[in-house]
Symmetry: C2
Subunit: 255 residues, 2 copies
DNA sequence: CAGTGGTCTAGACCACTCA
DNA sequence: GAGTGGTCTAGACCACTGT
């Protein structure tokens, strides 16, 4: 008959919903606007709440939505471009180090894999510095910076008490070494409970895990494991701050 | 009384399950081994299947598990380190270009955001090259490479028919320009239907979206949007192939 | 307190893979 | 066709936020 080929490939409901909602976000909503609550939305689209939630989860993963328990679902602003490495990445300067805010510092043994990367014995003590990266008053990343005590010999004599002051000392001493460059890797992870708390997210929230190896003439001087909020961050490498491609734009397929 | 503080903070069941399963994976399972099916596992832990699945989803997101419909759930190998940029990223050579396998090439107008980044008019035609990055016989990434026709003037005269051959021509011409460097950004996304197909994933699967701007003396010569499988890939920058920190190792918290 | 998103249940059916 | 993971439902209760 005359019925036009309708969804014969049968995409899942939640996926179709995601597309519909995504288009609605583009045309009918402004950044920061709150959406109707999940029960209403589900009823409006004639699906179970769980299905509606599956669509919202997708959109949140893509950085389009922001959901807060007890508050509601709002339209998220475009992702922040976060400089992770500049073009001259061999530079001695601490890159965007001023953005990191030291919280505390303890001394302990490093996790096995970190010890391996540092090329030290697993029993050798390391300074563990806890830092967060704050932009516009919001924490974008939480980091653990592992610095072998042997890398910063000056410090052991000083004996600053634990806390932010000591964290700053360790970072200062590290910079004094004259770092020659960094190695980095980026992968997807989920926030541990402690990181989630710093980032104001729930445990298990998707994060981009940036592992950095700081190189000095003597070898690996320190290792940092930083977890960035995947929902709000776009990591940039090589002064690509100008890159302004957003996800909804990529949606359209050139054919 | 004598009851020892047991889970008073009440973490969600699925999160606790994730931890239990994660430890079980470390101690009792080998890479590639298949887990019991979801219904059995759920029964064994005394939870609903949906809850068990929430835990499995977490572990899959972290690259610990691999799930295939009709087959089962298996223990995933450690993530592959994928070189995205080398230390001398200003190099003219195509980096790990040999790993990219051209599929086809069409000519069309670029999406608005891509046109903006290329600094061209949205109506100007661009070559759209479709490539996939294959390692060990498995597709790790799918890419759309946008090259303005004005960037590669030689090509319009040649008139190679659409297809892999033409794709190769465009890439070759692009390299001939003498590229001066690249800008990159990395963010989390979900696979579009076409990308999902190339990557052997379901639509919506988590991917790392790498947007690269190729710079020539004249400005932005091309833009590429590559989607990497987030479950299997660890993107490395600056010859950090040696970085071997895996997620389960990060689990332990130094305190 | 009312209203929101987060968790959880116990089912059902479907799509896919493989023997 | 048997067995797997993927989708979907219609409820329930909880944790959190604001007023």
């Amino acid at each position: 008959m005359g019925t036009t080929q309708l969804e014969s490939v049968q995409e899942p409901k939640y996926w179709h919903l995601r597309t519909v909602l995504s288009e609605a976000l583009d045309s009918d909503f402004a950044v920061g606007e709150v959406l109707p609550n999940e029960r209403d939305l589900a009823a409006r689209f004639g699906v179970a709440r769980a299905t509606l939630r599956q669509a919202l989860e997708q959109l949140e993963l893509e950085g389009r939505l922001q959901r807060r328990r007890g508050v509601g679902t709002t339209v998220a602003p475009p992702r922040v471009g976060v400089p992770v490495a500049t073009a001259r990445q061999g530079g001695v300067e601490g890159d965007a180090d001023e953005a990191w805010q030291p919280l505390e510092c303890t001394t302990a043994t490093a996790p096995a894999a970190v010890a391996f990367t540092l090329d030290i014995d697993a029993t050798e003590p390391v300074h563990v510095v806890r830092r967060i990266r704050v932009v516009h008053g919001q924490a974008l990343a939480a980091e653990l910076l592992y610095v072998p005590t042997s890398s910063v010999p000056e410090l052991s004599a000083i004996e600053v008490p634990s806390g932010p002051a000591r964290a700053r000392s360790v970072v200062r001493e590290l910079h004094r070494l004259g770092l020659e460059g960094q190695d980095r890797s980026v992968e997807l992870g989920s926030a541990r409970a402690d990181d989630a708390k710093e980032l104001d997210r729930l445990p298990g929230a998707p994060v981009l895990v940036v592992t950095t190896r700081y190189l000095s003439a003597a070898g690996t001087a320190a290792v940092s494991v930083a977890t960035y909020r995947a929902d709000t961050c776009r990591l940039t490498f090589g002064d690509a701050g100008a890159l302004e491609i957003s996800h909804d734009e990529q949606e359209r397929q050139a054919s």
